[in-house]
Assembly symmetry: C2
Homo-oligomer: 197 residues x 2
């Protein structure tokens, strides 16, 4: 039995709710909003509002440079925060695509690097309180440069190669404002020797 | 000039968009949805959908135990992910509350610990692509136990004390499914000596 299956078997009736109904109250091309009516451990009914969307992939691309290991990152304008954000590449799964394929594609399109090796770092909920989708984290290594980025018409993305330590130290202040990139860093730590950090 | 001010002065007209209009298209007690019409660096108009909400605080409570340093965490049902999640305490700012006060209050209410010291670990956007609010991370130390939790009527929260290393190793698989707790771990690394991890 793998860890995920084992964890799902840890039930706790003092904490668990049961969903009894849901209805969609808003939809746009990138997400929908549902009202979910659930029964509490004390059998009370409450309604919660949840955002559902396609899953996302985030990929941590590690490049070996003459100065040591570095991250390949992308700088882009973000319409929620209304500022520039320096991030790992990533994005929404396309139809029929699995997590690893989405990670490899986003890496190619946004950074113009192809990965010889892509392995999973873990799967989280971006916010399990209000979001129903998942975010899948990957480590990309053995990077080979391609000719050019392959961006959508409304994507403006600049590629930067940054020392690992600079990204760690910058996280939590502009332009390292994307919380999910912090999640990716924590997962990267799990598979890296501390001497690399 | 502090780092945040300096970073905001790094402008890049090749990447920046300008908002020209916004309208609310959905609202519920915990968030609203806006359509924002923005002009691209190439002067094209596009509309983006953004979720706005009150800011959130997440607090990393560190307890010194006979076995070493440990995190105080909370296990609760999450209605977005529809599963149990083991997390740092945190929540939405109350009206008129600042980030530090929200962190201290959530710590008290959810874990029944009061912090002698609370300091900022950084501020991020939970998802700068589609969310307009911020998440404020804090480190809480010098913890003193209170008599009891102070939960809302529909909150079911169990407190657990966990070794730091176990939380790091667990992140990205159940019950450590909350991506923003990974962000908190990465920020915690910045202020911790590696020997503690």
């Amino acid at each position: 039995m793998d860890t995920k299956q084992a964890a799902h078997l840890i039930r706790n009736p003092r904490l668990e709710w049961n969903e009894e109904a849901r209805r969609e109250v808003f939809a746009c091309p990138i997400f929908s909003i549902q009202e979910r009516t659930c029964r509490s451990p004390d059998k009370e009914l409450r309604t919660f509002t949840v955002l559902d969307a396609s899953d996302w992939a985030i990929v941590v691309p590690v490049l070996t440079t003459p100065q040591g290991k570095a991250f390949v990152m992308v700088r882009q304008w973000r319409h929620g925060a209304q500022e520039l954000s320096l991030e790992f590449p990533g994005g929404v799964f396309e139809k029929g695509e699995d997590a690893r394929a989405a990670a490899a594609r986003e890496l190619r399109e946004e950074t113009a690097y192809e990965a010889g090796s892509i392995r999973s770092l873990g799967v989280c909920s971006p916010n399990p309180a209000i979001m129903a989708n998942r975010v899948h984290f990957f480590l990309a290594e053995d990077l080979k440069p391609l000719e050019a980025q392959d961006l959508d018409e409304d994507e403006y993305v600049e590629v930067e190669v940054l020392p690992i330590q600079a990204v760690f130290q910058g996280m939590g202040q502009p332009p390292y404002i994307h919380a999910l990139m912090g999640s990716a860093l924590a997962l990267f730590c799990k598979v890296s020797s501390l001497s690399e950090l």
